[in-house]
């Protein structure tokens, strides 16, 4: 239950207007810090829901695939530049962000990850690595300003953020493949 409290505290902290405004004022921090933290808060809160509603998770997410699909859809939705732009101007969109990321992405991720086999996990990694590289390429390469609210230099910065993130994930996978994981048990 401690985890739930920490997750809730983090969530409340992130919703505080000055915190939200500060984090959203820089494009890369909006996408690569605020959003992941929202997901993480849901990830922590998931314990409570899993204990409270085990039947629900058992019925709808027995093998983890539906959960990870929901997670991916929400994530991809928020990777579209337009949605991020809207979150800054359309109030409903901002509220949707604060609900969808913790509750529709963080919680299913926690529930699904354990249930997935290593093949599915690798597929998820692969998809996101490819996606991140594409997004990086897009943000670095495109000559126009994509968002109304952010400058081009913010866009390029975010692009490099995606590329480095993808690189870190690749290195992580490589060390998983070449390292002997059984030795850490």
């Amino acid at each position: 239950m401690k985890q739930f409290i920490y997750g809730l505290l983090l969530f409340v902290f992130l919703t505080l207007p000055p915190v939200a405004t500060l984090l959203e004022s820089i494009m890369i921090i909006h996408m690569h810090l605020q959003m992941p933290l929202l997901i993480f808060s849901g990830f922590l809160m998931a314990r409570f829901f899993k204990v409270r509603f085990p039947a629900f998770f058992y019925k709808w997410n027995r093998n983890g695939i539906p959960g990870i699909l929901l997670f991916s859809i929400i994530l991809v939705y928020w990777m579209i530049p337009r949605t991020m732009d809207e979150a800054l101007t359309v109030y409903a969109s901002e509220i949707f962000k604060f609900i969808s990321l913790p509750f529709l992405a963080g919680i299913p991720l926690r529930d699904s990850w354990r249930k997935l086999g290593s093949v599915s996990k690798n597929i998820v990694f692969l998809i996101f690595i490819i996606l991140f590289i594409l997004m990086g390429w897009l943000f670095i390469g495109v000559d126009d300003q994509i968002c109304n609210n952010y400058l081009r230099v913010d866009q390029i910065t975010l692009g490099w953020g995606y590329v480095t993130l993808a690189a870190c994930m690749i290195i992580y996978i490589v060390q998983l493949i070449f390292g002997d994981q059984s030795e850490f048990e």
Partner: protein, 559 residues
Amino acid sequence: MKELSALSLQQKTIKALGVNTKDAKISLSYLSVAFATLLIGGILGLVQGLQRAGLLELPPWLNYYQVLTAHGILLLLVFSTTFTIGYQYANLSHSLGGLLPKVRKLAWSGFSLMIIGVILVVTMIVLNEASVLYTFYPPLAAHPIFYVGLVFVVLGILACCFGVFINYRHWRKTHPGQTTPLLAFFAMGVFVLWFFASIGVTIEVLTLIPWSMGIVETTNVMVDRTLFWWFGHTLVNIWYLVATSAWYVIVPKIIGGRHFNEKLIRLVVILLVILNIPGGFHHQIIDPAISESIKFLHVFMSLSIAVPSLMTAFAMFAVFERAGRKKGGKGLLGWITKLPWGDVRFLAPMIAMISFIPGGAGGIVNTSNQMNQVIHNTMWVVGHFHVTVGMSVVMTFFGICYWLIPYLTKRKLTPQMNRLGVIQTIIWTVGMILMAGSQHLVGLLGDPRRTSFTTYGDHPRALSWIPYEYVMGIGASLLLLGVIIQVYAVINMMFFAPKGETTFPVAEPEDNALPAPMWTERWGLWSVLLLMVVAMAYVVPIVDMIVNAPPGSPPIKTW
């Protein structure tokens, strides 16, 4: 049970055979270079100290900035690096039961590469072609060969990194289910950090070579400075990690105690490795082209290193108190008197640890934006790093010599040599207090660092610095005396001390201690986390520096 007896068998063979002579030769070679360098660097230090106080005029063929560049590079880069490698390879050989033949080969290749590199670098400094100071970032430009020399040094370091990684992997493969001995774990931390630190400086130097040759016209000064401090700051913390390996594992044994909780020690190492590199930005607080908010964020990055440091301080005092009380120390502070103050192997690292208190406090001053504006580029900074590196790190290194060298040469530490060591420690301490203390004070009065003697046309302000600079000169003289004694002691222990057996002092855990958890060995994961932290810290400012770059700088030779 079988595992246990295999383990003790291995330990018995180590005991019976003592040090592996092939491995000892590697360590001794590195240590010899280290102390030869210390002697030259120390002489240059005194020359500088006297010149700055106006007490010594340099001959026309030698200028202050040549001396300063050589002093910085020889002591900060060469002495500390070679000592660290010699000591860490001895730790590795001892705790993993000998180096693999191919690792030995790597260590020797690293040695040759470094020697070639240092010769190239020093030659260029002596020829007055490279007075760019040890920070060597643009717009000051050295002769291309100077940078080529640096590339050789970095390649040498990388060879030693791979040596450690290979030996570690081999041991892990052959010892499933066991955690690595603590000293080998420290060695991994040191060399993983070194590997990633080298990336920054390699990129920098490779851009500087074509620039200094005139193939490209300009270079981006801000990016180069940032890459330099990525490396420079991390290097400082590598020495610090090396020193802590002795504080945690060696010193407790010398005072007859046990080492602290192994899980906490490993956690400190992991935190230092993951969080370290972005601290480099605290050297750029006054640099333009980094936005206020980024600098503000980096204050946190830089102060986060205080967490493992405070954990270390806490752990060490707990260990001392426990050992002192076991020996019958009574009352609140009675245990302090029970510590072996007359043993140089304890005294030197102990003073080193104590000096970390003012050193750390000074570091917090330096990393705070407003206070940095007061002390930036003054003698205060010079005082600061002589306390941190010249005392905390170097005195730990000196203390290590008094058991490591006799161990490696199969000789004994005689009581006379111990007494000499205690005297050396006292001289060094007094010298550093005088020199670094007056540097701190005169820095607050505005005396600039890295500046040849001048009175600015007898300006009263500049004249008020001179008394402090005399004290600095006295301290510097004591320090050179300390260097000479230390080098004498090292030579004596290498070649003349009586033959005998010296043990490698490795502390044991407390009897009821839990085994260290296996997950601490996930170096792949720690490396990825390190890279994530680096990405978070560097992507925003570096993209900004490149996209909004001013016209670059041509190479400039001011001397």
